[in-house]
């Protein structure tokens, strides 16, 4: 027993300080931003008193219309991009996991997931070149198209993971009970897939909402999303209102990621692959 205890990673010398250091590096900047967003001062470094002044500034200050327009763009694009990506990813997962074996299956898998591995800057440059090559004027539509594309793998992963966990026998039972293939898909597979699909949608939504690099390349002049608007504002010097808006964005992101996680958990609990229990 003693030796087992000694082998436990937690008892290695320096484990605790190292862990604390990592956590500090990860979260200190975020915490500083969050705390200082409640600062009453005009300076971003000198602490004054607690106030919601800069939050008020975000919504009603000089720059408020700019941020509002950017937020509307961001959210509308995120909703449309995530919806489209989720539909495409669901169909792709169905083809990959329910169409039996077909030629080029592993190739297709790589094709769907490769964008996760490609450096984002490369995708950004390539997308921009593509749009200008086909003579597309940059703007809202190019941002939307680019977002749909890079959101697909993020939506695909939770959806495919879920579908893999659902045994094919349910659809066979449905067909045995006179359901057509389409009915088996709609009445059995889709409801069982729902948590995966929702989870994929939320993930795609947040990825779209947070994206900066690709958006910045393909957006063109005269249109901003929230991340590019923040970046633009920061270039003219960091004002405390940036901290307030960043905190808001952080809260929304964390909320969505948590929601995506809990939806996934919920699906696990109503596990459809439960084997019959013995008595």
């Amino acid at each position: 027993m003693m030796s087992e205890k000694n082998l436990d990673l937690r008892y290695f010398t320096g484990f605790l300080p190292l862990t604390l250091l990592c956590l500090f590096l990860l979260y200190a900047p975020l915490i500083v931003v969050m705390v200082y967003s409640f600062n009453d001062s005009n300076s971003i470094t000198r602490w004054d008193t607690v106030s919601l002044r800069w939050y008020y500034d975000v919504f009603y200050g000089l720059e408020a219309p700019k941020f509002k327009a950017a937020a509307i763009n961001s959210i509308s694009i995120a909703i449309m991009a995530a919806t489209s990506a989720t539909i495409i990813a669901t169909l792709a997962a169905t083809a990959m996991l329910r169409a039996g074996r077909f030629k080029g299956k592993s190739f297709s898998f790589a094709l769907i997931n490769l964008p996760l591995m490609v450096p984002e800057i490369v995708t950004a440059v390539a997308t921009l070149i593509f749009f200008s090559a086909i003579g597309f004027t940059t703007g809202y539509l190019t941002i939307l198209i680019a977002h749909i594309v890079f959101c697909i793998p993020f939506a695909y992963l939770p959806i495919a993971a879920r579908m893999e966990g659902i045994e094919g026998v349910y659809e066979q039972v449905a067909q045995d009970l006179y359901a057509t293939r389409l009915q088996a898909f709609r009445l059995i597979l889709m409801p069982l897939m729902a948590p995966g699909i929702l989870s994929g949608f939320l993930l795609a939504f947040i990825i779209s909402l947070d994206d900066f690099i690709i958006t910045n390349f393909v957006k063109g002049a005269g249109i901003e999303t929230l991340p590019t608007a923040i970046f633009g504002a920061v270039k003219q010097g960091i004002k405390p209102n940036i901290m307030a808006i960043s905190t808001l964005l952080l809260v929304v992101s964390v909320g969505f990621v948590a929601l995506s996680y809990f939806v996934g958990q919920m699906g696990e609990k109503a596990n459809p692959t439960t084997k019959p229990k013995g008595d």
């Binding site: 045994e167 026998v169 349910y170 066979q172 039972v173 449905a174 067909q175 045995d176 009970l177 006179y178 359901a179 057509t180 009915q183 009445l187 059995i188 409801p191 069982l192 109503a270 596990n271 459809p272 439960t274 084997k275 019959p276 229990k277 013995g278 008595d279």
Partner: protein, 358 residues
């Protein structure tokens, strides 16, 4: 093969290949209307494959499947008037018991009110009326099994396919459900095709049994026929326990054969179709053999060991000429049990022995 109207499923020369693996080799079977028909065989012999072929989940490489006169080999599973009770039950986890059982009825276009009445009837049949609103995850294994049965029975299929539906249940429950299944089959008059690898289950439940080995039908018959008159070594050995004695066959005529037992005694006994002269095998069931005084039996040997089985006692005897024989005795006080090492004679009625095809 006869083509009368009371054939429910006529399986004609069906072959099924999975790549290079031949799962079914030219299987031909006639399953009668209103029959409890069992497919029995060891693991991997192709029982599930045959059911899936009938249900329409596997395309066949060759042959025809005639269901009440109609060739269904090219129909989709949802176009075939057969239902399956899957081995894993596979109740739809997002639907309660009623919705599960109603699924097939709604797909057939019944309206909800009628479907609901039918669900009530079927749940009563499987004694689950009180569980109509439960979710599958709130049911025990035995209850899930009954819901799966009810779900498959609800659309009144012409043929019901059951793939080892009892294998996940414990012994007591299994025995109870066996009886229930038979009763339900009697009441509904639906043709049952039942898959099992449990010979006891097959013997007690079935009107007829098909014994399958390596994708081929070895023998079809009633429990009694298969047990008393096995066609070959595989069937004799797979159904119940048997002793196979090496004999040399001298004469064969009209289902009877003469053979010389180890030790030289000659007997005449029933012979399976296809048995031939020369060296062969004689099957004698352990319960047909008695231990007699020296010099009075047909073969001779020494007692090797006793196996105590509660109601029965098995005595294993090594024959003088080689090979061994198991004798089954009832475990009662009147019977004298020979001691290990003792030289004994074994006797049996030749009419209950059988010459087999190898």
């Amino acid at each position: 093969m006869s083509r009368d109207n009371n054939i429910a499923v006529d399986i004609q020369n069906v072959t099924k290949m999975y790549g290079d693996v031949t799962a079914l080799k030219g299987v031909s079977l006639d399953i009668r209307d209103n029959e409890f028909f069992t497919l029995l065989g060891p693991s991997g012999c192709g029982k599930t494959t045959l059911l899936r072929v009938i249900a329409g989940f596997e395309e066949i490489s060759n042959g025809a499947i005639i269901l009440y006169g109609q060739n269904i080999a090219n129909l989709m599973p949802n176009e075939r008037p057969v239902n399956t009770v899957f081995q894993q039950y596979a109740l739809f986890p997002h639907m309660n018991v009623t919705e599960n059982v109603m699924f097939g009825l709604l797909r057939l276009g019944q309206d909800r009110a009628n479907a609901k009445t039918r669900v009530g009837e079927v749940l009563e049949l499987v004694q689950l009326s009180d569980f109509a609103d439960r979710m599958p995850s709130q049911l025990s294994g035995g209850q899930q099994q009954r819901v799966a049965l009810a779900r498959a029975l609800a659309p009144s299929p012409k043929v019901l396919l059951l793939d080892e539906p009892l294998s996940a249940l414990d012994l007591k429950l299994r025995q109870a459900v066996r009886l229930e299944l038979q009763q339900i089959q009697n009441q509904t008059g639906i043709t049952f095709i039942f898959v099992t690898h449990d010979q006891e289950e097959a013997l007690t439940m079935s009107d007829r049994i098909a014994v399958i080995e390596s994708g081929q039908v070895q023998q079809v018959g009633s429990a009694r026929e298969i047990y008393e008159a096995p066609k070959n070594k595989f069937v004799a050995d797979f159904i119940g326990k048997t002793n196979l004695l090496d004999v040399s066959v001298t004469d064969l005529a009209r289902g009877k054969g003469s053979c010389i037992l180890p030790g030289g005694v000659q007997i005449t006994c029933p012979a399976a179709e296809g048995a031939h002269a020369g060296s062969g095998h004689l099957s004698v069931r352990p319960e047909r053999i008695t231990i007699t005084a020296l010099g009075k039996g047909l073969v001779q040997g020494t007692v090797a060991r006793h196996i105590y089985l509660g109601t029965d006692l098995h005595v294993e005897v090594n024959l003088v000429e080689g090979g061994h024989v198991t004798v089954r005795m009832q475990n009662s006080t009147q019977i004298q049990i020979p001691k290990v090492g003792q030289l004994v004679c074994l006797d049996f009625e030749p009419n209950f022995a059988r010459l087999l095809v190898d």
